[in-house]
């Protein structure tokens, strides 16, 4: 069928103008049109990624560039450092809870908004608003909210609890306690394994900001599920919960996947939210590779080590993105 269409085009093209030179011309123009972007991306994105990779294999520390080859020395130093191991643990904790929270809350909100209540568009807008803020604003505001004050003079959320007579006093952002306590760690790690309690305020702020995004995606998805499927299921005697589990959720799978990819890659690179909210937290309890890279490169002037951290972050993100791209391309060719 594809061949038939092409030959029709060809025949009409033949009638319009000489065949070969027009096609060549069009191809040439097409290439020329996109070449500025291609060149810019090739140089400023891929060229500089390659340059960063090269710097990460060098010995550059200090203002004067020292590009002598140092093998994987920087990578070894980074992996051995207390700070980087904490960063990896924190990133895993943050990604897990952020993804889970955003997806669950997004889905809940989407289902609520989808039930065609009055003022649906108002609620939709309200839930979506936090996404319009920059992470810097979110981080600063939530820092104030979670700032504990003292038990005698509470601040932020604690003040709210105090006003309502609730005897709750959280001091998560000031403690480096890792749950469960005891500081257990395997021998080959330098850091206690677990959930740093100081991450909770950061996770809450991030979920607050991005659950509107997942809500919007799920809303579109829910609206895309044909009603007759559900009607047929009801006729067959399925309960609402069964309909949800067997029809709605599976059909939302591609959306969940997209949301996971987008949110996942945000959380692997996160920097501005954390640095404004906790600055890396009490004793690295909320530190992440983005902050480590920034401080190593721009405060300590250790460019080679910073480049190594950047390449590691790139690899982490590609572990997430590349399977998704492959899956996407395969399903497109299948169609």
């Amino acid at each position: 069928m594809a061949e038939a269409t092409t030959s029709v085009v060809e025949k009409s093209a033949e009638r319009a103008a000489p065949k070969k030179s027009l096609q060549l011309n069009e191809k040439l123009i097409g290439i020329l049109m996109i070449s500025p972007s291609v060149i810019a991306i090739a140089v400023f994105v891929y060229g500089f990624i390659a340059w960063t990779g090269w710097v990460s294999l060098s010995r550059w520390r200090g203002i004067v560039a020292d590009l002598s080859y140092a093998g994987f020395e920087n990578y070894i130093n980074v992996f051995k450092s207390y700070r980087f191991q904490t960063d990896i643990r924190n990133t895993i904790v943050f990604t897990l809870f952020f993804l889970l929270g955003s997806l669950v809350i997004g889905l809940l909100l989407a289902m609520l908004v989808d039930s065609r209540v009055k003022g649906e568009s108002f609620f939709r807008t309200v839930y979506l608003f936090p996404m319009a803020l920059s992470f810097v604003v979110t981080g600063t505001a939530w820092q104030w909210l979670f700032s504990p004050g003292t038990p005698q003079e509470p601040h932020g959320l604690n003040q709210l609890f105090h006003m309502f007579g609730l005897h709750v006093y959280q001091n998560w952002s000031t403690t480096s306690y890792v749950w469960p306590g005891g500081g257990w760690r395997p021998d080959w790690l330098r850091i206690p394994v677990g959930i740093p309690v100081a991450m909770i305020p950061v996770i809450v702020a991030a979920i607050w900001q991005m659950s509107g995004f997942t809500m919007a995606m799920y809303l579109a998805g829910l609206r895309g599920i044909p009603e007759d499927l559900k009607e047929a299921a009801r006729v067959d005697g399925a309960s609402e919960w069964q309909i949800f589990r067997k029809i709605t959720l599976p059909l939302l799978q591609p959306i969940t996947l997209s949301a996971v990819i987008v949110l996942g890659h945000i959380s692997l690179k996160i920097f501005d939210l954390i640095i404004t909210q906790t600055g890396g937290g009490p004793g690295f309890a909320t530190d992440v590779p983005g902050i480590y890279m920034y401080e190593t490169t721009f405060k300590s002037n250790k460019y080679a080590e910073g480049a190594a951290v950047a390449i590691i972050m790139l690899l982490l993100v590609s572990v997430l993105i590349i399977p998704y791209l492959i899956y996407n391309m395969r399903s497109e060719t299948e169609r």
């Binding site: 003292t150 004793g283 690295f284």
Partner: protein
């Protein structure tokens, strides 16, 4: 015909991109790492390279002076303005550009400065902490001109303390003019609380723990410490190090890295810090140094150990010296002055070198320092200050500066370079959170590998 128009439009797009890219160059100075200004400099300051780069910064020909700093807060901004006024009197007709980058402690400014210096677009002069921060970052990279001759010519080597000059000399040359001196090892206390409890400001570390015990029993936080600015606990520890090692051996810590591994006094210092933190507030991580100081004048805490910029903060809040707040050298450090200094140097390739040198002369002059320091809340690096211009605390500090033993601050760029400072700060911030003494010792030892030989 259509394809011809398309090709033409593509060429136009290409041409306009090239035009924009190249046209922008006129505004941004390109690499001229060795170029100096046109006229031969009357100052005997050495190593003037005679090459003149044709495409130097667009401001090169005009009569300007660009000073790069992070003095944006009131007080310091006023002091800087006062210096500009003096400069303008000496060189009327020069446009003074106040290139500041906001962001406390200059982290943003320093990042911008690195970009400019590496790109060959140095300002005429920039604010930098005198000592290893300047030397370890800029001098070893070959970006600064030595100004030892200027020191001799202006007679600064006679009015500034010799220990201070020794500690900012590298391989026999001096590279910056100290404008002010702040003191790091200071204890500030609430006079009301001390009077009510019949206490005297502690002189030794043992005194400190006796006083702290009494205060803790009364339910008053003995020591108020911050943590949000990531330098408060490192700042506290350098006073503890000074108290433990003494003014003779403390500077050796930065010349002999093996001391961090072998010296038993290090363990003693870490134990002292650990014990001190037992008497400090638990919510350190959410307080800045100013919040911690505020608790002292509010009467919620009794003492805080912070540099003497805290005095400026107290005065700003309306507290009265010797009535609401008192001061003393940090326990165990009486007789030693942990100095830090803001200074200005001469970068190689300064676009207006003559003006820059005149600026340095203003910075080092009695007139300049006495105009700047009362506003900033610091004391001059010169010992011939006009004391009538300074408040009661600064007058005391000027006297101390003349007779105490001078030792360089770690946390504020005098004793060690930036890479060491970051590692040291990280080690102590981690310790403030997890109180792991072994981890602290290990990290301090790792940090010591960043110390460069001088």
């Amino acid at each position: 015909m259509r394809s011809k128009i398309s090709i033409l439009s593509i060429f136009l797009i290409f041409a306009s991109i090239l035009f924009i890219a190249c046209g922008g160059q006129g505004g941004t100075p390109t690499a001229s790492t060795g170029g100096t200004s046109q006229s031969p400099s009357p100052s005997p300051a050495a190593s003037a390279q005679p090459t003149q780069s044709a495409n130097q910064g667009s401001s090169a020909g005009e009569n300007k002076l660009e000073i790069f700093s992070w003095w944006t807060n009131p007080g310091e901004a006023d002091g800087l303005k006062a210096l500009f006024e003096i400069f303008k009197k000496r060189r009327p007709g020069v446009e003074v550009i106040n290139a500041t980058v906001a962001g406390g402690a200059g982290t943003n400014a320093k990042a911008v400065l690195v970009t400019r210096m590496r790109g060959g677009d140095p300002p005429d002069s920039f604010q930098v902490h005198a000592g290893q921060e300047l030397i370890g970052t800029w001098v070893v990279a070959g970006k600064m001109e030595p100004i030892t001759d200027l020191f001799k010519q202006e007679g600064w080597d006679k009015v500034m303390p010799k220990t201070l000059l020794d500690q900012i000399t590298y391989k026999g040359e001096i590279y910056s003019v100290p404008v002010n001196i702040h003191r790091s090892n200071m204890l500030w206390y609430n006079i009301e609380i001390f009077k009510k409890n019949n206490l005297q400001p502690p002189k030794t570390i043992d005194d400190f723990f006796k006083v702290a015990e009494k205060l803790k029993a009364k339910g008053i936080t003995p020591l108020s410490v911050g943590g949000k600015d990531k330098f408060e606990v490192p700042h506290l520890f350098e006073s503890v190090l000074l108290a433990t090692f003494g003014p003779e051996d403390y500077p050796k810590l930065f010349k002999d890295p093996s001391m961090w591994e072998n010296d038993p006094r290090l363990d003693k210092a870490i134990d002292t810090l650990n014990k001190m933190l037992d008497y400090a507030n638990e919510d350190r991580a959410s307080l800045s140094w100013a919040d911690a100081a505020q608790r002292v004048i509010d009467g919620e805490a009794a003492m805080t150990i912070m540099g003497d910029w805290a005095e400026g903060y107290f005065i700003n809040k309306g507290a009265k010296p010797n009535k609401d707040f008192g001061w003393a050298p940090a326990p165990g450090t009486s007789g030693s002055f942990l100095w830090l200094s803001d200074s200005f140097g001469l970068p190689k390739g300064a676009p207006h070198r003559e003006n820059a040198i005149e600026w340095l002369k203003v910075c080092g002059s009695k007139e300049g320092q006495d105009a700047f320091n009362p506003k900033k809340g610091s004391i001059p690096a010169r010992t011939d200050a006009d004391k009538s211009k300074y408040d009661v605390y600064l007058r005391w500090s000027i006297d101390e500066f003349k007779r105490d033993k001078l030792v360089p601050s770690i946390v504020h760029g005098a004793a060690a370079n930036e890479a060491y400072m970051t590692d040291y700060d990280n080690a102590l911030n981690l310790f403030s959170a997890n109180r792991d003494k072994e981890e602290l010792k290990g990290m301090l030892l790792d940090a010591a590998s960043e110390l460069q030989s001088q």
